[in-house]
């Protein structure tokens, strides 16, 4: 319709959106890039390879990878159960899943403190067994697990709903057991959503801040993740360190999510081409 001939109104709206997004999103990103390299590349490199920075990145990576591993298993499992099984209380379970999206990360960390901290609900048991969760890495792991819980499940549910059940029935009829039918027929259909869910979880886990601050305390060298390192650097006015770590963290998250995005789109294209061929 009016796609080719644009009036003054259309151009005003386009310009408005470009200016808005430019100020709101693009300008801050450029400010960060400029800030990290403002002194010299050497300063950037030096702060990048400092022990505190590397330690914090390593801790973030360890926590994030473990979280992704657990979430991949339980996320797929829960999605499967919610789609394929019917039982009383299922809709309650379904509503529980989005709660981590709505909670403030500080509140998440605090809830874990109420469970595992001194005077906490589980503290007597943990103390007797000499297990430390609050102000230690296990607590930070649990906090990250909590905040990233919905991603995998929400990615997997639509795929499981849309699975082609004819193929499963055919496989079963031909004598395949459930295990074979899962790996040969079901999993290939879920692969791209699985990878996408993992990437979102990884990005979220790597960038978690509020919850790990409250439960972990951010002790340098012990419970300091990359985000806590940035926070401490800002408070101590070590600006270059803060900017360098920020740029690294931001670039890492954006890269992971966009890689997963392009993978998802490629799969979609492949599937479309496949279905055209079948129709022909």
């Amino acid at each position: 319709m009016n796609k080719d001939k644009k009036g003054l109104g259309a151009w005003t709206l386009i310009l408005l959106v470009i200016i808005y997004m430019g100020f709101l999103i693009i300008a801050p990103i450029f400010a960060l890039i400029k800030g990290a390299f403002q002194d010299s590349f050497d300063a950037f490199w030096q702060s990048l390879t400092s022990t505190a920075m590397l330690d914090s990145l390593w801790l973030s990576l360890k926590i994030a990878l473990l979280v992704v591993f657990i979430q991949a298993i339980f996320g797929s499992l829960i999605a499967w159960v919610l789609v394929r099984q019917d039982f009383p209380g299922k809709s309650i379970l379904n509503n529980l899943i989005d709660i981590p999206f709505a909670l403030s990360p500080v509140v998440v960390g605090y809830m874990l403190l109420l469970l595992f901290g001194r005077n906490g609900f589980f503290y007597p048991v943990l103390d007797a067994l000499n297990i430390k969760i609050a102000f230690a890495v296990p607590g930070m792991f649990l906090a990250t697990l909590f905040v990233s819980l919905p991603f995998m499940i929400r990615e997997m549910i639509p795929v499981i709903i849309n699975l082609d059940r004819q193929q499963e029935y055919a496989a079963a009829t031909l004598g395949a057991n459930k295990w074979i039918s899962f790996w040969r027929i079901i999993f290939p259909q879920m692969k791209s959503a699985f990878i996408y869910g993992i990437s979102l979880t990884l990005a979220r886990a790597f960038g978690e801040f509020g919850a790990v601050l409250v439960i972990g305390g951010g002790v340098q060298g012990r419970t300091e993740t990359a985000t806590l390192f940035i926070f401490r650097s800002i408070e101590e006015r070590q600006n270059i360190e803060a900017y360098t770590a920020s740029i690294l963290l931001g670039a890492f998250s954006v890269l992971i999510v966009s890689l997963a995005d392009s993978f998802k789109n490629a799969q979609k294209k492949k599937q479309k081409m496949g279905s055209i061929e079948v129709r022909r």
Partner: protein
């Protein structure tokens, strides 16, 4: 779809329970138990104790600041999100694909990094920040405008991405009819397009509100932590935890949880309603 297949009666065997039980246990341990413990802790001294903690001057100020900055963000985000979605769906212009890709960036950038970026741009030592401060008297960092900007950044995708698919699926023949009958483009938009987009915009706006109320990482960097001035509710909870004010932390946490969940549920109900219309 294949209703006969999907609804086929399944009896619950051993393998179903092997999948079901761990799922339920995982969700109960991860979500239900922590929620029960914080609710029990917040009501330790009854409702009056809870209300007392919330209405203490510093806590109350933090809550009000959180509410009005989130509300202002929601209004701006709803308006600009609607305009952005409209422009992206209906117009073609150079750079459109880049713009469309940028919209999702706030979802993957850690919010703490967002805070750092805004300080880099608007901080008192930065060119733009000091210019705004000196020539317009507008302080952004360590002031409420910074909070609103940070919230706008992190929640920008919510309205755009809720409205966009609805606008793409909208039947164009009604608009064509309106145009043929002599309506100008503004009238057509107001009478034909807008009514279909109001519920999605509202739902996206509420989603961003529920996200903003609990935001911490971006806000703590941008606003600082000045009680009675720039301290938001989430930052107040952190302070209460650090000073071992347990009842205060639990009470304000519970209020935050209740507000977010209520708004999120409202958004879900609205979403179901427009889903039913289609």
């Amino acid at each position: 779809m294949e209703h006969s297949l999907v609804q086929e009666k399944q009896k619950t065997g051993f393998s179903e329970w092997m999948l079901r039980l761990p799922s339920i246990l995982y969700l109960v341990m991860m979500i239900v138990i922590p929620l029960i413990v914080i609710i029990q802790d917040g009501f330790r001294e009854g409702i009056s104790g809870l209300v007392h903690q919330i209405t203490l001057p510093i806590a109350w100020h933090a809550i009000l600041l959180t509410l009005w900055t989130s509300a202002l963000m929601t209004i701006i985000n709803a308006l600009m999100g609607l305009v952005t979605a409209y422009v992206l769906v209906r117009y073609d212009f150079p750079g459109k694909r880049i713009l469309n890709a940028i919209i999702d960036l706030p979802l993957s950038i850690p919010t703490l990094v967002t805070g750092v970026m805004l300080v880099m741009l608007y901080g008192p030592q930065q060119a733009l920040g000091s210019f705004l401060n000196e020539s317009l008297g507008l302080q952004i960092i360590f002031a409420p405008p910074g909070i609103v900007l940070a919230l706008l950044f992190i929640s920008f995708p919510f309205v755009v991405r809720t409205v966009q698919p609805v606008l793409e699926d909208l039947d164009r023949s009604q608009e064509d009819a309106a145009n043929t009958l002599g309506a100008n483009s503004w009238t057509t938009f107001r009478k034909v397009v807008l009514p279909a987009l109001i519920l999605p915009t509202l739902s996206g706006g509420l989603l961003s509100f529920s996200r903003a109320v609990g935001e911490f990482g971006a806000v703590v960097i941008v606003a600082g932590n000045i009680p009675l001035k720039t301290q938001t509710a989430a930052v107040y909870v952190l302070g209460a935890v650090e000073s071992e004010n347990r009842l205060g932390a639990s009470a304000v946490s519970l209020l935050l949880i209740a507000m977010s969940l209520f708004v999120l549920m409202t958004a879900n109900i609205i979403e179901k309603r427009w889903g039913a219309h289609q």
